[in-house]
Amino acid sequence: MIDNFLSWFVVLLILIASGIMLINRDWRVQLGALALQYLAAFWLVTRHLPFAMGSAKLVTGWMVVAALGMTRLSLTTDTEEDTFRPRGQWFPIVLIGIVALVAFGATPRIEAATPGLGLPVIAGSLLLIGAGLIHLGITADIFRAILGLLTMLIGFEIIYAAVESSILVAGFLALTNLGLGLVGSYLLIADASSRTIVEDELA
């Protein structure tokens, strides 16, 4: 009973973290929200996987957050304003609202089709997948695109953990997460160095 209540609380946390990541433009806040999503994913994953495997996912996730944070912190030049991204706060709020409606609407149907996954697990997973896809859809910025991919991947991992408990898959998924974080860091550094070179040439 308490577990179930906690699980739904975690789903609420996912909704809030996804919303913050979508609305806020400060990279520190966005990374904080990502770290929170990994924490929430840890709880939902451990509904089906052993504690140790869930912990491995959490540690990997936080390592990704740390890698991205350190990279972003080390960049002397600020990233360019994302012109593709719609301005204003209402648009992302409406989008995350739509995702929430779709996720909560689809959850009982998926549970009916594949019993045993658990309603909070499905809802949390769908929320993250939806939020990640929306993130990818409304940005052309490297940092935000990586955050979107990672968010989508966390959502997928939650629901996939319920159907596949292989250690090899868990390891590969951890490597994929870590790889995505490192690729994101690499692309951020490449972007910043290219702009530094251009600025130096202009000066």
Binding site: L149, S166, A190, D191
Partner: protein
């Protein structure tokens, strides 16, 4: 020793060693030699068969356990390993001539070993994860540290990452379909998931927009390597699905959908190629058309599916290598590959421009070149099934041919009184020469591929039977 250790672990560790321990100039020779040795080993030493060397009996075991799962390279995979590492050696030796960014050989070896692991892993659907890892490793090749990442690279990363969940989920759902084959709803859902996953992985229309972007903004050699390596293994992975699930093989709707996707890719890529004004983008569209042909071959309702698919896959690596090398040589001089910048270059770079045109013509299916025999075989089968599809394939290939003629005219459009030069180095001319001769040999004597082609279908138990 086991086969996965030889053909997965050794190249993986060699790649890491080259990355951290060797200079760029040496890495091409070392990496190329390692790939050649691995190819020769795969060709000579049979897997899972005892050999008597002097008084010692040697046997390469086919499997290895890793975290409770198996990596298996059976005796049937030997030929495929030889082909893959042989072509990889060609790419690695070419890095010196192409002047590609360092790390190509080291990361290339790691990428190839991961992709080999993707055909060895059991259950086979975990391959999606290994392909995703390989795709991520391609990024440093495509974007040097001082170059701004373009939209093509980001789209490539996003599409490859989106493919993985779809394929993993579909694999899980397909197991359910096997358990209850009468469940139409589950079958449709699994099929849709699988289709979406492979649409992202294989860059099926309209998800191929990243390819011309990438060939325009990135190093042509790295982009060419990517366009050879990833689709080759993805196609084998896709054929693994068809081989594993009888209902997928038997589904006429799926076969029609695959054929339609293939025809659409060939026709659209050919038409787009005919109007391009950038020779890098031209290579991208040609690669898309080639992928379309391979997808079309998979969708054939024929026992020749596997033969035709491998007949298309084998020359692809050579065609793209020659084309990408030619583009790299030109790009080092002009920095841009738009028609305005490469006009009249045939007199300055005769080998590079000839290589590009011959590789392009081969991809259009021009007679006496490597691309002709597989296209003829495909057309022969396709014409007996659908004249409509054959017509649109013809339109696509005609578009590619128009692109080749336009490129040729731009290359020779030099101002008067400009003397012919030999702008390429000896290594560059030699590598291009070897590649072009290879294209002619495969076109004139397609039976040269027969020893390989006769053994490759054994990879699959049911497909093409």
């Amino acid at each position: 020793m086991s086969a996965p250790v030889i053909w997965i672990l050794i190249p993986l560790l060699s790649g890491v060693f080259i990355l951290f321990g060797l200079r760029e100039r040496v890495s091409a020779i070392v990496g190329g030699t390692i790939a050649t040795v691995l190819a020769m080993t795969a060709l000579i030493l049979p897997i899972d068969t005892a050999l008597l060397v002097g008084s010692v009996s040697v046997k390469i075991s086919p499997a290895i356990q890793f975290f409770g799962r198996s990596f298996v390279l059976s005796a049937a995979d030997g030929t495929l390993l030889a082909v893959i590492y042989g072509l990889a050696a060609l790419w690695f030796f070419g890095t010196e001539a192409s002047g590609t960014a360092h790390r190509f050989v080291s990361l290339g070896l790691i990428i190839i070993s991961l992709l080999i692991a993707s055909i060895a892993v059991e259950p086979f659907l975990f391959a999606a994860l290994l392909i995703e890892m390989a795709a991520m490793l391609v990024i440093p090749l495509l974007v040097p540290l001082y170059q701004r990442p373009g939209r093509g690279v980001m789209r490539f990363l996003i599409y490859q990452t989106l493919a993985m969940p779809f394929i993993l989920f579909s694999g899980w759902m397909l197991a359910g379909v096997e358990a209850s084959p009468g469940d139409i709803s589950l079958t449709t859902q699994a099929g849709t998931m699988l289709g979406l996953g492979f649409a992202f992985l294989l860059a099926i229309f309209p998800l191929y927009n990243w390819i011309p972007m990438l060939t325009e903004e990135s190093s042509p050699y790295a982009a060419g390597f990517l366009l050879w390596a990833l689709p080759t293994f993805t196609i084998i992975f896709a054929m693994g699905f068809l081989d594993r699930y009888a209902w997928l093989r038997a589904s006429t709707q799926l076969s029609s959908a695959i054929q339609f996707a293939g025809v659409f890719m060939v026709a659209s890529a050919g038409i787009f190629a005919s109007v391009q004004k950038h020779i890098g983008r031209m290579m991208g569209y040609a690669a898309i058309a080639e992928s379309g042909l391979i997808i079309l071959a998979i969708g054939l309702r024929s026992t020749e599916v596997v033969n035709i698919t491998f007949l298309l896959l084998l020359p692809r690596g050579l065609e793209l290598a020659v084309w990408a090398l030619g583009l790299s040589i030109i790009k080092r001089e002009t920095y841009s590959l738009s028609f305005d910048d490469v006009q009249g270059l045939a007199r300055k770079f005769p080998f590079a421009t000839s290589g590009i045109i011959i590789a392009h013509l081969s991809m259009t299916g021009f007679p006496i070149l490597a691309g002709f025999p597989p296209r003829l075989a495909l057309w022969n089968e396709l014409a007996s099934q659908s004249l409509f599809a054959s017509f649109w394939v013809f339109v696509g290939l005609l578009g590619l041919l128009i692109g080749a003629i336009r490129t040729l005219s731009v290359f020779v459009m030099a101002e008067e009184n400009i003397a012919w030069n030999w702008g390429e180095s000896g290594i560059q001319a030699g590598m291009l020469g070897v590649g072009v001769i290879g294209l002619f040999i495969l076109g004139l004597f397609p039976q040269a591929m027969q020893p390989l082609l006769s053994r490759l279908p054994a990879i699959f138990e049911h497909l093409g039977q």
